[in-house]
Assembly symmetry: C2
Homo-oligomer: 241 residues x 2
Amino acid sequence: MPNPSAAMLVIGDEILSGRTRDANMYFLAGELTKSGIDLKEVRVVSDDAPAIIAAVKALSEAYDTVFTSGGIGPTHDDITADCVAEAFGRHIDVRDDARKLLEDAYGKRGIEVTEARLRMARIPDGAALIDNPVSTAPGFTVENVHVMAGVPAVFEAMVASVLPTLTGGTPLTSQTLRIMRGEGDIAGPLRDLAGTYPDLSFGSYPFQSNGVFGANVVVRGSDPALVAEAMTKLSEVFPDA
Amino acid sequence: MPNPSAAMLVIGDEILSGRTRDANMYFLAGELTKSGIDLKEVRVVSDDAPAIIAAVKALSEAYDTVFTSGGIGPTHDDITADCVAEAFGRHIDVRDDARKLLEDAYGKRGIEVTEARLRMARIPDGAALIDNPVSTAPGFTVENVHVMAGVPAVFEAMVASVLPTLTGGTPLTSQTLRIMRGEGDIAGPLRDLAGTYPDLSFGSYPFQSNGVFGANVVVRGSDPALVAEAMTKLSEVFPDA
C-alpha cells in the first residue's frame, strides 16, 4: 500500500515578498518523512481570500492530508480561518471553547481579551481544536485540513500535536554517497541502478566545491536492507567516492 | 496600473523530503520585489511528470511570468524540459545551439560530452536560451515560462540574465517598526491605519523574545513618501516602540 499523501499550504505575504525565509515547510517536510507520510506538494499564496479558498479546495481534494501555516493571528490580514470555513461551506464564529481557552490564559497574565484577540477564537462549526502550548490561541482541524499558526515555534508545537493522530506509512530511510565527479559521469550508471531497483528512488544533487564538480547521490526507500544493498553497488561503481 | 504578476514552480523531491532547505524561493522573492514584480504564488512539486505539466499550465495561464527551478540536469530524474515542452505542445530534442555550447565548454576542459550530458541540450522548439555563466548548460524561455537550474549559484546567475529582459512595475518600498506588545494590542490601531491608507499594505509578524511578545509591523507601498507618512503615524500610536 502506498504511503499516505500530504500537501502544505503556506499563507503569507512575508514569504512571497522575500522578507522572511520559510522555515515551516522545511520542518514539516522532515517530520512527515520520518512519519512515513509523503509530502507531494507545497503551495505558497498571499493573504488573499480567493487564492486561499481555491488552494484549500484543490489540495484537500487531491491529497489525504493538508497542513496550513499562517494567517490565524488577531490582525486584519489574518483571514485563514474564515477562508477554510468558506472552502468547506461551514459557518464560522467565535466559539465558546476557544474563547474560554483565551480568557483563561490571558486572565492569568492579567491581559485583556480584546476584540482583536477574540478573532483567534473564530473556529468553523464541527472543527476539532489543535492544542497550542506556546501561546494558547488554538489551531483547528476541519475534514482533512489542519490549520496551524505561522510562527515557527507555534507551528512546530501544533505539528507535534497533530502527527500522532495521523496514520503514517512506512518511514523512508535514505543513504547518501558524496561523489566527486560531474553529474554527467554519474547519470548513466545511476539510471542503470534505478532500473535494477524499481522500489527505490535515486536522486542526484550536484554541487560545486572550490571549482570541482560533485554530487550527493541519495538512495531512498522503505526497506533499509534494500537501500543498503543498492548503496553497496553504487560504491562499487564509484570506488573513489 | 498594477505591477506585473509572477509565480514560481520549484521542482524537486529533495525539498519535499526535507533533505534540502529551499534557497531559490527566498532569493527570487527578494529579487522580484526589488524589480517591482509581484510574486503571487509558489508551488513545489516532486519529480513527477503529470504534476509538473499541470503546474506549468496552471501557473502560466494565471500569471504574467513563471520561473521554474530544478530538474534540468543530466540525470534520469531531470524531466523538467520535457514536461515544459509537453505543457505547451512543443516538440523537444537535442538542439544544435545548446549542443555547441556544451561541446565548446566541455572540450576546453577535456571532458567528454556523454549521452547523459547531452540531455542538458534538450530544448523545446522556439525556446530562447538563458545564459549559464556558472556551468554552461543553458536554461530556456518558452512563452512566459523561464526554466532555470536548481543549484542555487546557477539559479541566481540565470535570474540575473532574465530579470533585465522583463518589464517591472514600481518597486515596493517597506519600513518596519518593532513593537514590543502582543499582536492583540496592535491589531485595532493597525486596522484603523490600514483603512486610512488604502494604497499601502500593513503586515504584522509576531515573535516571542525571552518570553515577551512583540511584532514587527511592516508598511509596504510603491510611494516612499506615503510609506514614511504612515510609519510616522504608527510611531505616534506606539511611542514606546
